[in-house]
Structure formats: structure tokens, C-alpha cells
Symmetry: C2
Subunit: 292 residues, 2 copies
Amino acid sequence: MVIDGSDVLDNPNGTAPGLFLEHQGTSIALLPGPPREMRPMFENFVLPRLTEKSGNLRIVRRVLRVAGMGESAVDELIAPVYLQYENPQTTILFNHTEIEIQLTAHGRTEQEADALLDRLSEQLEERLGQSIFSFAGETMEEVVGLKLSVGRYSLSVAESCTGGLIAQRLTEVPGASKYFVEGVVAYSNEAKKRTLGVEPVLLLEHGAVSAPVAEAMAEGVRDRAGTDFGLSVTGIAGPDGGSEEKPVGLVYIALADDAHTEHRKLMLPGDRNLIRWRASQAALDLLRRRLI
Amino acid sequence: MVIDGSDVLDNPNGTAPGLFLEHQGTSIALLPGPPREMRPMFENFVLPRLTEKSGNLRIVRRVLRVAGMGESAVDELIAPVYLQYENPQTTILFNHTEIEIQLTAHGRTEQEADALLDRLSEQLEERLGQSIFSFAGETMEEVVGLKLSVGRYSLSVAESCTGGLIAQRLTEVPGASKYFVEGVVAYSNEAKKRTLGVEPVLLLEHGAVSAPVAEAMAEGVRDRAGTDFGLSVTGIAGPDGGSEEKPVGLVYIALADDAHTEHRKLMLPGDRNLIRWRASQAALDLLRRRLI
């Protein structure tokens, strides 16, 4: 078998060239990695060829992100909607740690493609409701940060198994100091008592990974920092530390404000890193839903 | 121009096939992304062909990682050494956030290739000394964790601009609870006073981003947690918050033990995420060097 067509693309740096292949109607571009070499080659060679092939069709993509639902549950709910459309095309992707709904529309103008995307995403929102947390690719921490900012709320966080991940995600967003006041990574029981004021009897009777301790951590950090909200996580991220009664993946999250404290019990699949990430996502999502 | 040779590789799942191309002595394999499709195709088709081409030559790679030095400084020091060898080949890579020295050796057996790597990496270590923190691809947090574990030391961390990143990196390592006790993300001045015991006068006279405050944070978290070491970071990660006197990228790190407290002043380049990551790396490296 022979590739239908191929061309060598000059590298402006004079180093490794690129290749542009045509095979059974598909174009494949192989470009060198460094951005300062790849970008001009893409812009000068690849893009013009693809534009020519596409007959000046405009393609627009949009990414919706979903929290708190599995891939198949999302698909079940929205398949009846998106299957009615060939344009936009819909792809449901389990992107490392969250569900992304990728919509791709084409039109003669960008406006035309955008209008098609608007119509479909409205219909998807009718089905998924508050589970969609992002309509333009924003991250969970950006969405939560914006809501806190707009409402002039302040937040503190108490973490055990996530080990600082929630604080780190929140403070990745520029300007987080407007709402994020303090985080405590209470990895040991001593730290939970000393810094978060968790009653020793709760740890003795229920263990560190329990609903009462999660709630006490959320209330404790909120009291310490004097914030509107206190958010907490305690769980078993593994690989060790699990038991029959409390297996790896068991996580409690809790949220406290001045009126009440609530918690959720989660059983999260995945390895240590995935469990930690999912726990951080679920905690941030609990706060997001409270802020709606 | 036509590619010298090409073959379609069957996908065991019956979906998108792969392509294997030969061009000017270089083999290029294009495989579908999902690991459960890519792996068998690599093992069944690609690896046998490459083995055949290589005449059963064994190729072994090793990655050394360097902290506290720039790419060109590393190259200047070690070029006189590695340029003496065609085998192993040496590549210095600025891999997102740290300097990696990648060594690739070939031999008739794995042992032969390994011996070549041993000889070169010893010579590189003579030049770079303690700046090499990893000889087998370990991360900084794994190296620090192992040293803490072996020495039975405990650690607490106080973070401002890194916002939990150091705690998160330390606790990514399974078993971190053996040495990591508590982390405080003191994002506001109030939190620095309240939870870390930083004297208000230090904040007033020197500002939150200063050597005295960094040292007070390290001592404060160490006192609170009762650990052998207290590690701290305070700085300006940007994009806002910089001034002429204290620009974006200015970071102080400090380390306290029972005998003394030391600090480093850093001017870190990059965007917000890169500054945060580099600050966390420098802080962990300060501790690593103390533990040698």
C-alpha cells in the first residue's frame, strides 16, 4: 500500500522538516515539536491547505463540562437530543477526570455555526440542568471563584486526603485572594484537633474518615478563618489505609455556612491521584451548587 | 515526493487503523490514541519492526533531574564531559519546569548499555554535585519524602503564593502521612497572624513578601505542628500585585528546624503557574539539601 500523496514541509529554522500526507481523504500533518517551529509551519503550510480542502467552511467548537454524573448517565440523558443533529456533531469525552461534551458545528460564517451551537447547548442544558458547570471551557475553580467574587463571599478550606489540592486549584485562579482566606491541610489527627478544633471524641467514635469529622472540619476552618463558607474533605485515597468497613475511595465532603452544615458521602473509583482529584472536584461542586 | 514505504496496521478493535511509514531511514508509526488499542498494536507490529531494523541492539534511557540551575549553566558545566561520548547520547531538556538530562545508550545487551550510562552519569555527578536530585526519574517530592522517611523526620508547611501546591505535591506520594503532619495556606495577612503567629509588626514593617515574614511563617508552622522541620513560601505569583520594589516573581522561601532558620530570596521568571511551581520546587529543594 502506498500513501495517496505526501509533501515535505520546509522548517523555517532549517532543522527537521514536516510531512503532509493525504490518505483516503484524510490529511495528516507531522510537524516538529518546538512551538516556534511548529506554529509558522502550521500557519504557512497546513492551515491554507485545510482551508482550501474545506471550501472556506467555518468550524466552531464548544466544550460543556459536567460534574457529578458518569459518562453513560450523561449520554443516556442527552443522546435523544444530540442524535437529532448531524451538525453540530457531539462527542462525549471522559477527559482524564471530568465529562466533557464537545460540540462541533460548521457553517458558512462563524455566526451561523455559533447559532447552531447555541440552539443545541440550550437543549442540552434543559436535560442536564445544574450538572453543566461550564459552557465555555472554564474550569471548576474559575466558575466557583467567579461566583464567590460576584457574591462577595469568603471561603476557607480544610483538607485531609486531598492534601492541599483544593486550595491549590482555587489559588491557581488570578485574584483568588479576593475570596480565598485560608486553607488547612490537616493530614494528621493531631492537626485536626489542634488547628480545626475537631473534638477528640468524634475521632475516637467515628474515625477521621466519617461524616461527623468532615462536618466538624468544615465548621472548624470556617470558625478559625471567619469566612462565609467552610469547605472540607476527609477520605482514603490509597493505595494503603483502606479496610473492609472503610475502603480506598471512601470520601466525605462537607460545607458549612452560618446557617447550617451539610455533607456528602462518596465512593470514588480510580487510583490515588484520580481519587484525590475527584474528591476536590466534588467538594468544589458542592460549593458551586450552594452558590447557584 | 513520495514516502519511501508505508503500511496500514490493523486495529484489533476493528476501528481506525494505524500507519507505519518509512522515510529517509526514519520509521514513523501513527497509532490510534486509546491505550487498549495502541498498546497491542505497538507490541504486535511496531516493536518487532523496530527490533528487526535495529539488529537486536538494546537501547536504554536514563533521566537525571537538576534543581537550582538554568539550562545554559547546566550545559556549560557538562558539555565538556558529554561531548566526549557518541554513545550514550545526551540531551538537555527544559521539561516544562525543570532541567532534565536525558541519556540514551545502546549496547548488545542491556547490561552493556547500563554500564555506559553508569560511567557517564558518575562523571556528570562530579560536575553537578548536589544539583542533581534524581538519578532514575524520581520526582522532587518523592526524593524529599524518602529522605524524611529514612531519617524519621516530620514536616509542616506554611504557604502563601503557592496556595497549597507544596502540600499537594508532598501528599501525592503514597505514605506521606508518615512525615507530613500539617499544612497551612495562609493566603491573607490575618491567617498569617492567626494561624502562624506572625507578629503584626513584621507584616507592617516588611510586608507579607519579605524575608522576616517567610522565616516567621516557617517557625510558626513548625511550632504549631510540633514537627522537626517547618518550610514556608511567600511571594508574588502575579499577574497582579507586583510593584517596582516587589515585582511579580519575587519569592522568599524559608526553612526552620530546632537549631536555626534560613531563607532564600528568589526572582522567578514565568507566568503565574510557572512561578508557583518553581517556588514550590525551590522550597522542596532547600529542604532536600538540608537533608543530605
